[in-house]
Amino acid sequence: MLKRLTFAQVYLLLAVLLAGAVVASAGIGAFTFSPAEMLRYLGEAAGWMSAPASDTLGRNVFLELRLPRVVLAGVTGAVLGVSGTIMQGLFRNPIVEPGLAGTSAGAAFGAALVFVLGEKTTLAFTAPLGALAVPVLAFVGAFAATMLVYRVSTSFGKVNVFTLLLAGIAVNAVCSAGTGFLSYIARDPQARNITFWNLGTFTTASWRGTVLVSVAFLLCFAWALRHGKSLNALMLGEDEAAALGIDPAGLILRLIILNTIMVAVDTAMVGVIAFIGLVVPHMLRMMKSADYTFLLPASALFGALLMECIDIVARLVISPAELPIGIITAVVGAPVFLYILLRQQRSGGAFYG
């Protein structure tokens, strides 16, 4: 049904749905806020209304805990969606997501280093970085892993996609082994930090972290938007793209860098969240178009929409406790994805239609 709409109309539809999901996500949870309450709290925070002394608890929960969380969830969804789109475009392969090219595993290894060796140990090598230790080391790990994959799979200035996938699997194995070893030597609480971080969570959202992730995303996203046409050309193959006046090696390197920054900073904040990066671009392709100038902005909107919905579920299922996000992305995402795949196959539709 989306096929009949123009790109602009699809953006508008997704934006409206996203706005609705954001309002719902901001209102629903262990605390419930009516739209009127939310507006009043926002007005008070902005200084448009005088703050009444009553119900400071609700106001603080909304402004200090709920809002940063809702924003962080949305931005995370957008990061993962855009990242999935970029990587599937780069590798011209529909199974690629940040998890496959070593990016997530490298980030996880970097963060695990901080969890196990950085806290309260004699090493304390992360002390100068302070609260930024996890994002910085996650980026270093993710970048090193992704670059290693990239270097191994590059020869004569060309990326061999199959070598790249195989190298990704090998680097993933090394990084997971490193993380596994760290959790083995870790003390009990540290090991559990790694475990829960590997499932993803938004409970630790704070304004500082949310702003950091948002800024990283907006910069990288703005940069990525300029590469939509290049990605379209790359779909034809590297030689063909070169014939169209694009430098494939340079394009791939730039995209890997911006993708790594975005994913590493986000992963450092919320942990590893699987499946969104894989599902979002696919669903958009099947529902609308494989044009990357469309996919990049649409996957940001759709990823954010999906993540807000998943976060609502995470908060409601066993309220007032909550489930790790990664569990729900798999439980909700996988069946939906399988259903779409089946329907697509029965109708005989083209995969990249």
Binding site: L57, R69, F196, T203, P320, A321
Partner: protein, 293 residues
């Protein structure tokens, strides 16, 4: 498994300005407590302050009545909003909770955080119960629980004399086991080790501190006379006979003679009013026909 040598004394750290401002008892009628420590939760029940509890963590399951209280999730994977939605007047913990951000999030909305660290000593645990009695206005109940507890321990100390000069069985305490046949041994120096000692046994693992991962070969090498398994791990097999078929265990004297017993994890993880009973149960396992006095 924190071992601070100075944990003889209870360290009561009241974090957050409001925590200090709140009076200890008095107007305690409207106190609403969310507590994420299984030991403190058990003590709250012991001193009759359970009606103040409005939230507990997932692992606080003793006494059984506590499961009726709302769970705020696993104590290392809490979410601040869930805790705050129970509108607690104090967030009680033993310092072992996470993620770290929960602390700042609770402080932001002005929920007092009270961290009570009982350490791993008997004195520390007794002081913890004493502090709770004062803090939650259950002075008399706390005193009577403490008196019974101390009397129980005195009787345990007297009974330890009967082990003097007698051979002490070498005991391996096997804990947990998330995966099949994946167990941890409790090393020397902890709560379980003290209980073993009072019950007339000796820890078959001779290194100190925390836990050690076991392998079948290691179990066979340790060759304990008796194996004590905590509830989760033991219940996976159901009976001592089945437990004894585990690789490694079957090669030990304990496995050959069927001397494998089950104990509640909470009995050996921290000291509490139940400790004297736990020691007696343990002594019953280690010395099936106790020597005459």
């Amino acid at each position: 498994m924190r071992r601070s040598s100075s944990a003889l004394f209870l360290v009561a750290a009241a974090i957050g300005a409001t925590a200090c401002a709140r009076p200890g008892g008095g107007a305690g009628r409207t106190e609403r407590v969310v507590c994420v420590s299984k030991q403190i939760n058990e003590f709250m029940f012991a001193i009759g302050a359970q009606d103040l509890l409005v939230g507990r963590d997932l692992t606080s399951i003793y006494p059984p009545a506590i499961t009726k209280i709302t769970s705020v999730g696993y104590h290392r994977a809490l979410n601040a909003e869930g805790i705050i939605s129970l509108r607690p007047t104090v967030f009680l913990n033993d310092g072992n909770y996470g993620p770290d951000e929960v602390k700042t999030q609770l402080q932001k909305v002005g929920i007092p955080i009270l961290t009570l660290n009982p350490g791993t000593t008997l004195d520390g645990a007794e002081a913890l119960l004493d502090t709770l009695g004062t803090r939650f206005d259950r002075r008399a109940a706390a005193d009577s629980v403490l008196a019974a507890w101390k009397a129980g321990m005195d009787s345990i100390y007297r009974d330890t004399l009967q082990w003097a000069g007698k051979p002490r069985p070498r005991v391996l305490i096997m804990h947990f086991g998330q995966l099949v046949n994946d167990y941890l041994a409790l090393k020397r120096g902890g709560v379980a080790d003290h209980i073993l000692d009072w019950a007339g046994g000796v820890n078959a693992v001779d290194s100190v501190g925390g836990m050690m991962r076991l392998t079948p070969e290691l179990i066979a090498k340790i060759a304990p006379d008796v194996i004590i398994a905590t509830d989760v791990g033991f219940d996976r097999f159901g009976t001592a006979q089945k437990f004894a078929t585990m690789p490694g265990v079957s090669l030990t004297p304990a496995g050959r003679h069927g001397r494998i017993y089950r104990i509640e994890e909470t009995d050996v993880m921290y000291f509490g009013p139940r400790t004297p009973a736990a020691v007696r149960r343990m002594a019953g396992f280690l010395h099936p026909s106790p020597p005459a006095r």
